[in-house]
Subunit: 579 residues, 2 copies
């Protein structure tokens, strides 16, 4: 492994092309400008003061620029991870705000360590167990929870935090008379502005326009005090993130661990998905999942020493970054510098920023994540996956965010396993005038059925959980076929692997039908399966004359008693070979 593979920045920095600078600068500034209101808004979702959103938008960006393999990924706070952060800490009661902040920062540290270790041990593939419907169901539910949770800021009413939609909606209903219509009006205008400018050009800093609008309205009409007061961000301390060792309490780490693992995987899933999507249009580099884990992991770890809560590569910012012309990690560095300068000089200007505008930014962002098209598509194309999406969605909404995704993952694996225990089995026959053998149920009229031969295709690996089904199904087909049956051809094209239970089953089957004077032949078994059959003694048991390259050869051999020097003889070496 070269130094470059550990420090991907070396892939572009030493050979930096001046032509890239324009794109990097433009994109870096655009994303930086996006990050400022987004960071504050997402800190709000996490239950943290706005400034921590800015803290999380500096150090992690620099670290990722050095260690990450994607050149467009825009690291920073994300709505979903902020929500998961709030959920993780929600179970601790009676925390002071300082404790809460310390816990959130510790969480970033643990998440980072987990991601780093996953990367080192090359376990990035684990994220593949998050299936499409599970991600989609989870994301939509999380978006709904975040969006509904922002209603109180949009409406300017004070109700307790909750991650249960029904509780939030009930509270709003009960406090309907308390709605601050000015706040609501500002929010609605904010939402409209963001949507409108986005429509005009995605690279426009539409969120910043909404922020400026909000500050101007509050300042101009004196809405920060008096009768028509709206909730504002208030004073943001003019301080940079301090170096500070996270609160390394072992009991606390233990209790945060399960949620930290969830956050580590979800945040990696979020960033790797968008990194790969962007990379397909940028062929000059390659995203390496395990290095990405190391990059994001260390961004979180180092970030946690500078008061950052968990961060990841965000969907929308990354898209904007790519669209605005980012060519290298320099763009991300520029974004970080911009946030740094803001912290130094500009925080007083955010004093009058109405919280309704932050809510507007969040709501536009998260409602875009609700993927109703996928729901319709799955309903039409794949009922099982539709069901999986629905269960994950509902479970995330009702029983809890982390339990919802956990249930989705387990359920999707259970479904995969259960399906292979009762796989599709086809009886094949020759399509008239061809050498194709196909399912008689699908190719009904065009196939030639023979009474003496049963050709079976078992569409799964033969392994412990389906050997009983295999034997039962075969018996059922044999009984159905009747007394004239003399030969069963087991077509191996779709039998992808064979374990020792499968070997026992095949030997059982050979023994059972031998007693009934029915021969067994195998056709088209693939290499890895042939290897197991040979080592497990199946081929010794039936000998090579019962193994064929194709169904046709098996049928020919049977029908002509193999007298005419069957063509398969010359392929014996292929059937024998075992490498």
């Amino acid at each position: 492994m070269s130094l470059k593979s550990f420090l991907p920045i070396l892939e572009w920095l030493p050979s930096y092309n001046k032509k890239w600078l324009k794109g990097d600068l433009g994109a870096g500034l655009t994303v930086g400008v996006m990050l400022i209101p987004q960071g504050m808004a997402y800190a709000n979702i996490a239950g943290l003061p706005p400034i921590y959103g800015l803290y999380a938008s500096i150090v992690p960006l620099f670290i990722y620029a050095i260690l990450g393999t994607s050149r467009q990924l825009a690291i920073g706070p994300s709505a979903m991870i902020a929500l998961l952060t709030a959920t993780s800490l929600g179970s601790f009661v009676d925390l002071s705000i300082d404790q809460y902040i310390a816990y959130a920062i510790l969480l970033a540290f643990i998440v980072g360590v987990i991601q780093f270790l996953l990367g080192i041990f090359r376990l990035g593939f684990l994220v593949n167990f998050l299936s499409h419907p599970v991600i989609s169901g989870f994301t939509s539910a999380a978006a709904l929870i975040i969006g509904i949770g922002q209603l109180k800021s949009l409406l300017g009413i004070k109700i307790p935090r909750s991650h249960h939609i029904n509780v939030v909606l009930e509270n709003i209903y009960d406090n309907f008379s308390e709605i601050n219509w000015i706040s609501f009006g500002i929010g609605v205008v904010g939402i409209s502005m963001i949507l409108l400018f986005k429509k005009i050009n995605k690279a426009l800093p539409s969120q910043l326009f909404a922020v400026i609008f909000g500050i101007l309205v509050v300042t101009a009409f004196g809405l920060n005090t008096g009768k028509n007061v709206v909730d504002i961000v208030g004073e943001i301390p003019n301080s940079l993130p301090k170096f500070q060792i996270p609160l390394l309490n072992w009991d606390l780490i233990n209790s945060l661990l399960p949620m930290a693992l969830t956050i580590a995987l979800v945040s990696f899933m979020e960033s790797i998905a968008v990194a790969k999507a962007v990379q397909t249009k940028n062929k000059e580099y390659k995203v390496r999942p395990n290095q990405e884990l190391i990059g994001i992991g260390l961004a979180n770890v180092v970030g946690s020493f500078f008061q950052s809560f968990p961060t990841t590569g965000g969907f929308s910012r990354t898209a904007v970054n790519a669209q605005a012309g980012a060519r290298t990690g320099l763009a991300t560095i520029i974004s970080g510098i911009l946030v740094f300068l803001t912290l130094l000089f500009l925080t007083p200007y955010f004093y009058n920023l109405p919280k309704a505008i932050l809510a507007a930014i969040i709501m536009v962002g998260v409602f875009g994540l609700i993927d109703y098209k996928e729901v319709i598509h799955l309903w039409k194309s794949d009922k099982t996956d539709f069901f999986l999406l629905l269960v994950t969605f509902l479970a995330t909404l009702t029983i809890g965010i982390e339990k919802g995704i956990g249930l989705g993952i387990i359920l999707s694996l259970v479904i995969v396993i259960l399906k292979t225990t009762r796989p599709h089995v086809a009886v094949l026959a020759n399509i008239h005038g061809t050498h194709f053998y196909r399912n008689i149920e699908r190719f009904g009229k065009d196939v030639i059925l023979k009474e003496a031969i049963l050709i079976v295709r078992f569409d799964a690996q033969l392994y412990f959980a389906n050997t009983t089904f295999f034997k039962d199904k075969l018996e059922e087909l044999v009984v159905k076929k009747g007394d004239k049956l003399k030969l069963i051809i087991i077509d191996g094209e779709s039998m992808n692997s064979l374990d020792s239970s499968g070997v026992h089953a095949l030997i059982d089957v050979i023994d059972t039908y031998q007693l009934q004077n029915i021969k067994i032949a195998f056709s088209g078994m693939k290499g890895p399966v042939r290897d197991v059959m040979r080592k497990g003694g199946v081929i010794d048991k039936i000998s090579f004359d019962h193994c064929f390259m194709s169904i046709q050869e098996a049928v020919d051999c049977y029908e002509h008693q193999c007298n005419n020097e069957p063509s398969e003889k010359k392929f014996n070496k292929f059937i024998e070979q075992s490498n």
Copy 2:
């Protein structure tokens, strides 16, 4: 469903053939004679007084004879289930013997209810998740634990009960001077007798001979008292099992539930395996797994109301039953009656039975279960399954009996899942002079490679956990193939199913390679996969001209630009049809 399917006894009793009676009577008596010492011995393993072994050999037998589908299965106490019973109750400290008995009986009740419910809800297939290597490793370890545990009775020394082999062996070593050599001598003669008579004829009541020998020696030499005393069974109350409602304490039931589930599955696994093995030689009936669960389940439930601890169909007794000529459940009823009569009249005669003889019976029984041949076979034929067997064996021995089997089950499923995340992928090419397309790595010199065409076979279902691998692997192969590549043929013969993540991956792949001017074609996709491709929009995306019946057709079409009215046209209806 007919009444017969609920009461399988109606399948044979109304049409009972007098000719069967001789076999049934002989087998019933033989098994009954076996059951008496075995029952007492297995009660000993379970930590119960000997008489409970006889109680468990009456009522459950009658119930199974009415409700079970196997006509030879010999129900009753089993060594493995007795061991699991002892393990379940081992975690309760300071139980009086009466409490211990009440708990064991409650356990039978819970096990029975679980089995009954599994049967009613047709969940018998769950037992298939116990793979061959896991069963083998678990059984061998359990046999070793039971066998070693009997050493103290064989040697006539008093050491505390333990299910940890190392503890037992250490204790024996520490108490070496205490060994009662007379007891040991009786035991060794007992073992030799059982093995010898078994060798002569398996249907001989060899265990009974050992029992008689033991009683005679103790009586003749006065070994039940004085200087040369050996441990004897002592007084067995002359009482029949009483009707008595199990101790239905909810908290207790809750704490026994996990172990009861293990026992329910293991005992079902034990009995269904032997029932199926015996049935293959008796074609006049069919073992139905779910009805078996109902039968064994109710045998346990009803048994628990008559002081029975958990029972199941035993390996060795069932084999003897079949060999001795049992034709129907009447044999089992006769065995039960024999035990009943023994309880009424013969228990005083067992007073002088040395415990070393019971130990001998158990040790011969369980050491026969250690399947070292399978270990050697797996070492040679299947390293993964060998590893699985070894882990299950070691875990059962060291971390605990129920945890061992649990770990084995989980590990075997994890391996299955992990294997499908990185399946075998083959690049195919035409074998010279044939229409076969095979793996170029295996058929090296005989294949014709074409620079413009890449033919890939992915040996697994394409689903969420391997779509990334699929895309990465394809890209790797495309890069390796070089610039002249114009067509990728994805051979579908081994792609057994496709979920919505797989659909997304295929669409991704089509889009990606379109940008590089490489076409994608599919050949030999099977029905269920075609259905998903159609519904998911993959076929619409590439249109029918890119779907072929076989690889050869795809190659022909590409090479002749499909000008010559390709033969696959006439199969369009097959490719289109989606039923």
